[in-house]
C-alpha cells in the first residue's frame, strides 16, 4: 500500500531523517516509536506531502504523493491542532470535512453518532468553538475527523497523548476495529510503548532519523522495546 523509498530530509547540514526502505502492506497497523527528535512527525509530514523530502519518494497505492494529489481521496490524517479550524464548533467542523469527503449532512450525523461514547458528550452539542476545548477534546475531534469518508489510509501522530485513560482504551478499540478486516492501513506514532504494542502488528523504531528496529509484534515485543529504550 505504502512504499517509503530512501527518504531523507536535511535542514542545512543537519540530517533529520534518513530511511532506507519501508514497505507497508494494505491493512497493516503500523506503529512508529522513537524519542523526541527521532523524525516521526517529519516522516508523517512527508507522507502527507506537507514537507518535501531531500531525496527519495513515497508512493501510496501506486501514487507518488509529491507528484499527484489523488492520494488525498483515500487518506485521512490528524497531526496536531493545526489541523483544526478553531472558530468552528465540533459539528460545523465535521460538516466541513464531511463536505470535502463527499458526505452529506445525514451521512455526517450518522457517522458522528457512532462516536458518542468516545466523545463523552464533550464535543458535539456543546455550543463551544474548537479553540475553547481542552487539548484532549481537541484531539478527539481531530482523530474522528481523520476517520471520515472511509479512508484506506489513516495517519495519526501521537494520538494517545493528552487523552484520558478511558478514551485511550476506547481509541485502541477503534484502531483495532479499523484494521480488523485488513482493509484500512493505519499508521500511528507514539511515545507510549504499551499502547503501540497493543494496537500495532508491526513496530518501527526511529532514532535520529534512521530505522533501528523493524519488528513484527510478538509476546516479547514490549520487553524488547523497553530494554532498547532503557539504555
Amino acid at each position: 500500500m505504502i512504499t517509503i523509498d530512501t527518504i531523507s530530509k536535511k535542514y542545512g547540514k543537519e540530517v533529520v531523517l534518513n530511511v532506507e526502505k519501508i514497505e507497508i502492506p494494505k491493512g497493516q497497523s503500523f506503529g512508529l516509536v522513537g524519542n523526541n527528535g527521532a523524525g516521526k512527525t517529519t516522516l508523517f509530514n512527508i507522507l502527507l506531502d506537507l514537507i518535501r523530502p531531500t531525496t527519495g519518494l513515497i508512493t501510496s497505492n501506486n501514487i507518488v504523493v509529491s507528484e499527484s494529489e489523488d492520494w488525498k481521496n483515500f487518506t485521512g490524517s490528524f497531526i496536531d491542532e493545526s489541523f483544526l479550524i478553531g472558530y468552528l464548533t465540533g459539528e460545523e467542523y465535521f460538516e466541513f470535512i464531511g463536505d470535502l469527503r463527499g458526505m452529506n449532512k445525514a451521512d455526517v450525523t450518522a457517522f458522528i453518532a457512532q462516536f458518542s461514547d468516545f466523545f463523552n458528550d464533550e464535543i458535539v452539542g456543546k455550543k463551544k468553538y474548537l479553540r475553547d476545548l481542552s487539548k484532549g477534546n481537541q484531539k478527539k475531534a481531530g482523530i474522528v475527523a481523520a476517520l471520515m469518508g472511509n479512508p484506506e489510509v489513516v495517519i495519526l501522530d501521537e494520538p494517545f497523548a493528552n487523552l484520558d485513560p478511558t478514551t485511550q482504551i476506547r481509541l485502541k478499540q477503534i484502531i483495532k476495529n479499523l484494521t480488523e478486516n485488513k482493509e484500512v492501513t493505519v499508521l500511528v506514532s507514539s511515545h507510549d510503548l504499551t499502547h503501540v504494542t497493543e494496537v500495532c502488528e508491526r513496530i518501527v523504531v526511529l532514532d535520529k532519523g534512521a530505522v533501528v528496529k523493524d519488528i513484527q509484534r510478538s509476546e516479547e515485543t514490549l520487553k524488547e522495546l523497553e530494554s532498547y529504550f532503557a539504555l
Binding site: 502527507l48 506537507l50 494529489e69 488525498k72 493545526s82 472558530y87 455550543k127 463551544k128 475553547d132
Partner: protein, 488 residues
C-alpha cells in the same frame, strides 16, 4: 525584577520571527511616527506666533485652552479605536516567585510610555517653553504643563477602563458633537467654559494637585481591576461564550463552493481580527463623501475612479490581500484534504465578487452627485471583478505570514509584508492612470467605457487567469506551509 521584565520585552520584540521579515513595516511606522513628531514639534514651537498673528487681540494660551476640550475628547476617541490594552505574557510568571502586584504595576507603568502619551508632549513642551520665553509667568506655565501631562496620563488609564464599552464611546461622541453644537448655535460656549478652567490653573498653579489626585485615582482603579485578572481562569473566562450558530444553508446553492464560503463567513464573524475590520467597510463605502462634497476635487475626474475602485472594493482589498493567510492556522489540514486548489480559490473569488456587487448597490445613493459618477463607479465595479480580484489572488501567492485571528485589527500589521503595500499600485493607481490618460486624450465617456471593457476582458479570461494563479499557488505550497507554521 523590573530589569528582568524589560529584558523579556526586549527579547520578545527582537526575536519574534515577525521582526526579521517585517523590517520594512517597522521602518514605515518609524517614518510615520517621525512625521507626527515633526508636525507636533512644528506646531508646538510655531503655534504661539501663528495664533498671535491670526488673532492679535487674543491671548494664545487662552485660545489653546478653549480648544483643549476637543483635544482631549478627540484623543480619547482615537485611543478607543487605536490603542491596544497593555499586554504581557504573564502565564509563565504566575508560578514563579514574583509578587502579582509587581507584574500589574509593571504592565500599568509600561503603558504610560505608550506612543499615544509621548506624542502630544512634543506639542505641549515646546509650546510651554515658548510661553515662558514670551514672558509668561514661569510657575503658571509649569503648572499648566504638568496639568497637561497629568491629563494625558489620565486619558491613558481612563481609556483602559472605558474600552470595550460602547456606552462610554457614545458619551464621548455626544460630548464632542454636543459641545460643538451648543457653541455653533451660540447657546453656551462649553469648550470656552472648560478653557477658563485651564486659565484658572495658569493663574493658580497649585491646583495641579487636583489632577495628581485624579491620576492616582484612575491608576488605583486600573490596578484593582487588573490585579483581579492575574489568574488563569480570569484570562480564559471571557473566551468561553456560548456559540450562537447561524444557519448558513442558503449558501448550499453555490454547490461545491459552499463549504468554503460557509467557513469564510464564519471566519469573518467569529474572530476579533476580522470583526474589528468590519467597520472599515462603512468607512470605505463613505469614502466618496470626502471627495464629492469638497469643491476642490470637483474638476478632478480621476478621483471618481479612486472612489469607485475603493468604495466597491474595500472588502476585496481588506479580505483579498490576506488570502490565503486567513486560513494559515489550519493550512496544513487544508493541504492534506481532498479538494483541488481551484475549488478553494474559486470560493474566495466568489465571495469577493459578491461583495463588490453588493457594495456597488449600497453605493447607489452616490447618484445624488450625478449620473456620471455612478457610471464611473459601475465601470470600477466591473474592473474590480475582472482585474483587481485576479491581481489580489495572484498577490496572495506571496503571502508568507501567519495571521492570528484573535487579535484586533486597527494598526495590526501582522501578516503584512511588502507585497501588501506594493499590490496597492496596480489595484488603485493603474485604473486611475488609464482613466486619467484616456480622459485627457479622448473623453470622459470613452475613459469610463475603457475601464469597464478591461474588466470584462478580465472576466472573459477568468478560467485562464485562474489556471495561472493556481499553478503559482501549487509551486509555493511548501514555502507557505513552512511560513504559516511559524508564530509571527
Amino acid at each position: 525584577m523590573i530589569m528582568h521584565f524589560l529584558k523579556l520585552e526586549w527579547k520578545q520584540f527582537f526575536r519574534s520571527s515577525h521582526w526579521q521579515k517585517g523590517i520594512a513595516i517597522k521602518i514605515l511606522m518609524a517614518f510615520f511616527a517621525l512625521y507626527f513628531i515633526v508636525v507636533f514639534l512644528g506646531i508646538g514651537v510655531g503655534g504661539y506666533f501663528i495664533l498671535k498673528k491670526q488673532f492679535p487681540e487674543q491671548d494664545p494660551l487662552v485660545l489653546v485652552n478653549s480648544f483643549l476640550l476637543y483635544v482631549f475628547l478627540g484623543d480619547l476617541i482615537f485611543r478607543y479605536f487605536m490603542q491596544k490594552l497593555p499586554v504581557m505574557n504573564i502565564k509563565p510568571m504566575l508560578t514563579l516567585p514574583i509578587k502579582k502586584s509587581k507584574i500589574v504595576h509593571f504592565i500599568l507603568v509600561k503603558s504610560s510610555f505608550s506612543f499615544f502619551n509621548i506624542m502630544s508632549l512634543f506639542f505641549y513642551i515646546p509650546f510651554a517653553i515658548v510661553l515662558i520665553k514670551q514672558g509668561y509667568d514661569f510657575e503658571g506655565v509649569f503648572g499648566w504643563l504638568f496639568t497637561m501631562i497629568l491629563l494625558v496620563q489620565s486619558s491613558n488609564f481612563l481609556n483602559f477602563l472605558i474600552n470595550k464599552n460602547a456606552v462610554a464611546l457614545g458619551i464621548l461622541v455626544a460630548l464632542i458633537v454636543g459641545g460643538y453644537a451648543v457653541q455653533y448655535f451660540q447657546l453656551f460656549n462649553l469648550p470656552g467654559f472648560v478653557g477658563t478652567g485651564f486659565d484658572f490653573i495658569y493663574q493658580n498653579p497649585t491646583t495641579v494637585l487636583t489632577f495628581v489626585v485624579i491620576l492616582a485615582g484612575l491608576y488605583a482603579v486600573n490596578y484593582k481591576q487588573l490585579r483581579n485578572e492575574v489568574y488563569l481562569d480570569a484570562l480564559v473566562s471571557e473566551k468561553t461564550k456560548e456559540v450562537i450558530a447561524s444557519d448558513l444553508s442558503f449558501t448550499d446553492r453555490l454547490g461545491d463552493l459552499a463549504p468554503f464560503i460557509k467557513n469564510d463567513l464564519r471566519l469573518m464573524w467569529r474572530n476579533k481580527r476580522t470583526k474589528s475590520s468590519i467597520w472599515m467597510l462603512a468607512l470605505g463605502l463613505g469614502y466618496g463623501l470626502i471627495f464629492y462634497t469638497n469643491p476642490v476635487y470637483e474638476d478632478i475626474e480621476v478621483m471618481c475612479v479612486l472612489v469607485g475602485v475603493f468604495s466597491t472594493g474595500t472588502f476585496l482589498i481588506n479580505f483579498g490581500q490576506f488570502i490565503p493567510a486567513w486560513d494559515s492556522s489550519y493550512y496544513n489540514m487544508l493541504m492534506s484534504q481532498n479538494f483541488k486548489y481551484e475549488r478553494y480559490l474559486k470560493s474566495k473569488f466568489t465571495i469577493m465578487t459578491i461583495s463588490v456587487v453588493l457594495l456597488f448597490v449600497l453605493g447607489i445613493p452616490y447618484l445624488y452627485f450625478g449620473w456620471d459618477i455612478l457610471a464611473v463607479h459601475f465601470a470600477a465595479m466591473i474592473y474590480n471583478v475582472g482585474v483587481n480580484s485576479h491581481v489580489i489572488l495572484f498577490g496572495g501567492t506571496f503571502n508568507r505570514k501567519k495571521i492570528n485571528l484573535e487579535e484586533k485589527a486597527a494598526f495590526n500589521f501582522q501578516g503584512t509584508g511588502a507585497v501588501q503595500w506594493l499590490i496597492g499600485f496596480p489595484l488603485m493607481i493603474l485604473p486611475m492612470a488609464i482613466f486619467g490618460l484616456i480622459n485627457w486624450l479622448v473623453s470622459f465617456e470613452i475613459a469610463t467605457i475603457t475601464l469597464g471593457v478591461l474588466g470584462f476582458i478580465g472576466i472573459a479570461l477568468h478560467k485562464k487567469l485562474m489556471a495561472a494563479i493556481i499553478k503559482k499557488y501549487i509551486a509555493n505550497k511548501y514555502i507557505m506551509i513552512n511560513a504559516f507554521g511559524k508564530e509571527a
